[in-house]
Each structure stands twice: as structure tokens, then as C-alpha cells.
Symmetry: D3
């Protein structure tokens, strides 16, 4: 199995509901350093997994919709806690949609899976992995 990974980041505000979150129930924020990993069983005709330029552009586009926002006010997130692991899935699903739309190139339709990891600090991160 091959993979390539590209990194970007996003800076957001949010709050959590539920006693388990303690002081994180207050409005606070985070920088998420985001790694998007694209997996493929074989290389394509250009000897790559996916066009790294397109992968970088599309990850940036997905994050741009969230960047410098208060996630508590984003309609797509009504009624859920925008935990690091939840956001990893959200971003992975958005990337899969873009693959299906052809935004990562025709070759990307041969991808086997996507894994997204969000680093919330130097001591904590979360990930979500799915097939295509």
C-alpha cells in the first residue's frame, strides 16, 4: 500500500456541551494542524498516488470553509460537539466528496482510502480513517 500526506492548518473557536469536557465547555479555541493522507494500492501512470498539488489545494479549500470561524455558529455542526475526532471525520468526508467530483484529478478515483489527523497541541491529536 502506498500513501502520500499533505499538511495544512486551521484556527477556530468553539465550545463543548457535556460534563466530560470540564472547562472546555467554555468558549475557547484551537489551532488544528491537519494531515490528509491519501492511500492507493498501486501508483498511477505518472508514478504517483495523487497529484500533490491538487491534494494540497483541495485540503486548503476544505479548511478555508472553517478557518477563522466560531464553529458553534456553523449550521453543519448544529447539535454536535466539534471534537478533534469529529472534525477529522468531517474533513475526511469533505475530501472524499471532492475526489468523487473529480477535483483531485481522474487518477484520484483509484484511491483506496483517506486518513485525516488533526493535531490540537504537542501532546494530543486525533484521526479518522475511511475507505473510498
Amino acid at each position: 500500500m502506498f500513501s502520500i500526506t499533505v499538511r495544512d492548518h486551521v484556527m477556530v473557536a468553539h465550545s463543548f456541551r457535556g460534563e466530560v469536557f470540564g472547562p472546555a465547555q467554555r468558549l475557547h479555541g484551537a489551532t488544528f494542524v491537519v494531515d490528509a493522507r491519501f492511500k492507493r494500492l498501486d501508483l498511477d501512470g505518472d508514478d504517483i498516488v495523487v497529484d500533490i498539488g491538487l491534494a494540497t489545494r483541495e485540503l486548503h479549500a476544505v479548511l478555508a470553509d472553517l478557518n477563522y470561524r466560531n464553529l458553534d455558529e456553523v449550521p453543519a455542526f448544529t447539535g454536535v460537539n466539534t471534537s478533534t475526532e469529529f472534525l477529522a471525520k468531517y474533513i475526511a468526508d469533505q475530501l472524499v466528496d471532492r475526489v468523487h467530483e473529480g477535483a483531485l484529478g481522474e487518477g484520484a478515483r483509484g484511491l483506496a482510502g483517506i486518513e485525516v489527523t488533526l493535531h490540537e497541541s504537542h501532546v494530543a491529536w486525533a484521526s479518522y480513517e475511511r475507505s473510498l
Copy 2:
């Protein structure tokens, strides 16, 4: 598959037995930067994998039993080489015990697996992964 990972560290002395270890047969030491990764198929009712506060606390507790010790004198390690990979399994198993005891919360009983990685330097690390 979802996961969250928390990081801590431990500083220990130890020595190895066996020609394969060369100068590491002498009493020396290491800082192990320890990453504990908790995996789960679905998020729980709070939209998380596990309470990150409890995960951090329990990892710290497991490491506290080893921290600032000479592992050659720890009864649990009699007769084995406390290699980085061996310690990764030891710490993973201790965390699983704590999950079963409920120390990581009731939701943690739904965890699918745990992976522990120990970084012994900037150029070497080891890991152990198991299901729950």
C-alpha cells in the same frame, strides 16, 4: 476508524543482556516520549473516542510507576530485556487493564484497540498495537 492520541514521557535507567546490544549492555538510560493511541469504530454519545482528560491522567499514572527508576530493579521486569518495544507492550497492557477497571470511563469499554509508541531518540522509536 477513529482514534485519539495523548503524549507524555518517562525517564529511566536500565541495562540489557545479550551480545546483540553491544555497549547498551552497560547500565545507561533513556527518555521515552510515550504516545498512547485509543481506537474506536464509532464516536460515543459525547462525540468523542474517549475522555481525553482521563486518558491523559491514566497514561501519566502508568508512567509514574516507572518514572525515575532503574528498571533492572523492578520485579515485574525480572529476566527480560526492557527494550523499547517490550516497554511499549507493557504500557499498552497496563492501559487495557485500566480500561477494563473503568478508569477511563464507561464509554472506554467500547474501545477497539490501543497502540503505544515510545520514542527513544529523534532517530528511533518502537510501538505495540493490540485489540481490546
Copy 3:
């Protein structure tokens, strides 16, 4: 010149005022990974710069006052932009106050300077350095 540095982090929400900030004028957030460096011309009688346990505890205490907060609502920050560089100075000044109060031990009164660096992402950080 000797120094020791300890690292911790803080997660906050805030917004900026001024066209120069573009979309960061919206309420958003950040994780700041914070490095506090303590400088001293000579080592003390214990052969150290400062008690690393106290340095870690006091940095954590300074950050606890900010952690999981919306900085726009913190009275101490009224009328200023809580930029990364501004916060580096704020935290450094708080640490200096604690040194003068004796919270870092008697030996800490011999410190020559403090430098605080805040990492806001993998591609941007800011610092402030001052003498004691």
C-alpha cells in the same frame, strides 16, 4: 550563558481589530504551544539554572488563567489585540512577577532573563525576550 526551557500549551478564543488582520477579525481561536526559557549567567549551588519542577508549575499556573477562555472578555486585555507576540510578552511579564515573588525559589532571583515563545501553528511563532 545558561538556559533551561519548559513547554506547555493553552487553547483560547479571540478576535482582532484592524484591517491588517483580514479574516482574523472574526472570532476564531488558537492553540499556543508555549516555551518559557530561563537564562542565568552561572549555575546555582545545585548545578542548575532554576528548579525545573517550579518552572513547569509556574508556567502552567500562568497559562491556567488564560486556558479555555475567550480573550476578548478578559479585562486585562481590553483595548489591545491579543496577538501572538503580545501574549508572549504578557506571559513573560507574569513569569517575572512570579520570580520576584519567590514562586520559582530563592535561586531564581539570580536569573538574567526570560524569553517566551508561542507557537500558533507549524508555520508561525512569536517570542518576547526581556531581562530581569
Copy 4:
């Protein structure tokens, strides 16, 4: 499953053929920071996955054949793009050959798999994983 990973690096020149590569069709270069991960179901009689000294030596030997070279002139790479993901497979395959030759010790014949990751910058990396 256990694993150990060792890190080294290599500095090469190369160019790519294909419109997808844009300006990278020009002769340029890269530092690849290379992580070689060795997997094994159980520890051997010395309580390790593989002799870390031999793993380090053999990874260095594989990279020495590429280091400070223009990959466009290496016969083994004629007609292919030496993309980061392609090189990850090349290095993994070379390591597997060395395992089979006994260069990583007799115990290494019990390895389950090898994964090689090449970091081409702080924001992009690629990997290849195979069984033995």
C-alpha cells in the same frame, strides 16, 4: 503487532516528466528524511523486533547508494518518475532484499512487514508498506 522504526536521510537531485508535475519538471532536488519501520508479531529471544544497530546500518547502506546523486542518471530509475512514493517502495524493497540475505540478522527472518516513509518537507511525505 510490534514495530521499531529508525530514521536517516538522503539528499538527491532529480526531475519529473509529465504535465502534472508543473515546475517540478525542471531539474531540482530534495532532502528525504527516511523512516524505516520493521514489524513483527512477537518479540525474538532477546526481547526485540530486530537488532536496531543492524537496522540502522542497513538503512544507511541502502541510502548511501542514492546519496548526493542525480537520480535522473541512475540506471535503475530509467523511464520512471522518482516520486517520493516510488522511492519509498524502492527503499522498502531494498531492505527486504537485505533481510532475505541475512544482513539484519537471523532473527529478522521473522519480520512480518516493512513500511518506509519519506518526508520531503515539513508539509508533505509519502510511504509504502509491504509484507515480507
Copy 5:
């Protein structure tokens, strides 16, 4: 003293002349992860050292002139070894020129100094620091 630092990278080919360079006299390449640090005695009216958006844009522009190139063919570098430390000075000087041209904003004219660090691998980096 305040500072902010932004990070980007560049991928180049080059060769060195001189026995001291050993195998690096051959055409090879490098990824340089580049940190540009901007220093200022006091914050400006917006409570910042310099507009981080402009700093990022101008560093990227300086690197774009070098990116995906064989430095042996760049006229500006005729007759010199494009060592990591030499390139750190070249990039710092280019940034200072842009500050003087106003490309980093009017406030940037108050900068005290610039330091550029180039990471050539996980085990080696070089820097150049100058006043404005």
C-alpha cells in the same frame, strides 16, 4: 525584544566545489525548510511586529525565485558555493530589500533585524542574522 517567525520551504539542486565537500561535490539536491524571523523592539499600533500575511507572502516570493531550480545555473550564484549558510544570508538580504521597498508594509520599516534559518535535514541547519 519581540519577534515573529514564519516557515516555508524550497526544493533545489546544486553542487559544491572544494575538497571539503567530499561527495557533495556531485550534483545533488536539498529541501530547505526556511524560517524567517522578524525582530522589533516594540509592537506597532496594531500590537504586532509585522503583518504576518505580508511576511508569509514575501518569504514565499523570495523562495519562488529559487524553487525547483538547479542553483548551479542561477547567475546570481556564479562562483560561490550555495551552502546552507550562504543561502540563509541570500534570503535574509532579499527580505531586507523587500522591507525597504515597503512590501512588508509601512510598519515593517521599524524592524530591528531579520534572522533566516534553513533546515537541510532533521540533523543539520544553518542561519544568518543581521540588523536592518
Copy 6:
């Protein structure tokens, strides 16, 4: 001012004397990731600060004398606490001796200073800086 930095590591056991050290008074150990920074006002005739190959070799040689040892038994350290900051000075001084002996090449006699940083974990490091 120019500088180049090279990184290596060392794994040692030791213990501390003094109440300030708490549990670190017990025999324990550490991995120190060691950065040696060499400073010079101008580049030499080869357009470098110092031969990076010799710098790497000499740092490795200095660390080899400490590696896989119990520092409590090293005669040079009798009666002192081998704190991270103390060891930073010890290594810097050893490197300066080697510069004076010519081990880093004739050009190294033009060095202005050396700074050594020891990382004892992901959250703590110490350094010592001196002129030549």
C-alpha cells in the same frame, strides 16, 4: 552572524543529590538529543561556517565518551549534579578544546562561539553558549 548546527544524541544513567530534585535523586536516565551550534562572523573561503562533516564527527566523538554510561561513575563528574544545563556546558567546552586542537579544521579557528542545547524530553531542554 552566521551559524550551522548539527544534531546527535546520547543515552545515559545518572542520579542527583539535593532535595530540589525530588524523585530524580533516584538512579534514572535520559536520552539527550544534542544540538551543537557553531557561530562565525563571516564565511570562510569555501563559503561555509565550518566543515559540517568534521563538526558532525567531533560532536559524535564527544558524545561517544558519555554514551551508554552511568554518569555517577564518570570521574570527571565527581561531586557535581550532571544536570542538563551542566552537561550542555561540558559538551560545549569539549568541542572548544577540539577546535583549538584543530580537529574541526584550520578554518574552525575563526569561529566566534559555540552553543550546545540538550533536549531531555519533548517539554524540556537546556543550553549553554560561550565565545571561543
